[in-house]
């Protein structure tokens, strides 16, 4: 059985996917790339938005406004220091 992903891993996957798409991504892409349910994805995106790791943008497509998410500097810093974060969590049993 596959190991349950930790919260830190899920956040990393979401942010890494946004960065891989030049820093901006549509929620549908996050959904299939991060392998989360729609509800879980919404919860994570809301939390990441509140914590300033991502920003929600509204991009005009024809007559409608499409929602996209962009990674912030704080989000890039998270990716940069991800190894330190996970190793600290693993060593001190915080995961």
């Amino acid at each position: 059985m596959a190991k349950k992903r930790s919260k830190l891993e899920i956040v990393h996957t979401i942010l890494e996917n946004i960065r891989a798409r030049n820093g901006k991504i549509k929620p549908t892409h996050i959904l299939y790339k991060s392998n989360l349910s729609y509800q879980m994805m919404e919860t994570y995106l809301e939390e990441l938005k509140q914590k300033g790791l991502i920003a929600e943008l509204s991009v005009k497509r024809g007559k409608t406004n499409a929602k996209t998410y962009a990674i912030t500097d704080k989000g890039l810093d998270y990716l940069d220091k991800y190894r330190l974060i996970t190793e600290f969590a693993e060593t001190f049993g915080l995961e």
Binding site: K7, L8, V11, K51, G52, L53, K74, D77, Y78, D80, K81, Y82, R83, L84, I85, T86, E87, F88, A89, E90, T91, F92, G93, L94
Partner: protein, 224 residues
């Protein structure tokens, strides 16, 4: 006379230096945890930082108490006696106990992934009552720290069993040593060897924690 602990005179200064060293190591762990909280915004890192900051402050307090309050009783021994100290020093000693136990309590709360903050408030009140109402403060202090350290040991043992990570094992080992050190400290109310042994064991435990921290800070800079 109510003796909190006996200290051999030859070890007195060294003991204070060790306590300051433990405070610095605990503070370094707290600062790293706060730094990680700032990057990750995950609350468990902040709580972890608070727990080590609290432990660090408790060591500073006991170093100050030792420096200012411990009195010579002859025979090459010094003593921290509860019947001799002033109200202010007594308050400092109780604060030291409170900060140390609270640090371990928050550490348990964080590592056991409890989410209800009411549990933490309840535990803090229980701790306060135990400190204030207990007839034998030294024994109550030992009992509370032993209880929380045992829970932490059980947690790290299960973490090690599932991960087989050498660093998790070393943290488990350091908490086991801290528990033994606390056991030795309770003996120091009657025999000064307990004080020396407990400090040396604590030095070993904090050295392991420091080695892990240095490894993390060096290794963690590399990108995954």
């Amino acid at each position: 006379m109510v003796s909190f602990y006996l200290v051999p005179s030859w070890f007195f200064g060294f003991g204070i230096i060790l306590e300051i060293l433990f405070a610095l190591i605990a503070f370094a762990v707290a600062v790293t945890a706060f730094r990680i909280y700032k990057i990750s915004c995950q609350n468990e890192f902040r709580l972890f930082g608070f727990s080590f900051a609290s432990i660090s402050a408790s060591y500073i307090l006991i170093a100050l108490i030792n420096l200012l309050v411990v009195s010579e009783i002859g025979g090459g021994m010094q003593e921290l006696s509860l019947s001799k100290i002033t109200t202010l020093s007594l308050f400092g000693l109780y604060l030291h106990i409170f900060l140390f136990v609270s640090g371990l309590m928050v550490l348990c709360y964080t590592t056991l992934k409890l989410k209800n903050s009411k549990i933490l408030i309840l535990l803090i009140f229980m701790e306060l009552f135990l400190i204030l109402l207990s007839g034998n403060k030294a024994f109550a202090f030992f009992l509370m720290t032993a209880l929380f350290l045992s829970f932490l040991i059980a947690h790290y043992a299960s973490e090690y069993a599932s991960r087989k990570n050498l660093r998790t094992f070393s943290i488990l080992l350091s908490f086991v040593i801290l528990l033994v050190a606390r056991g030795a400290l309770i003996l120091s109310t009657r025999n000064y060897t307990g004080y020396v042994v407990s400090h040396l064991l604590e030095l070993l435990a904090y050295s392991i924690i420091l080695a892990n921290l240095i490894f993390l800070l060096k290794h963690g800079k590399k990108k995954k």
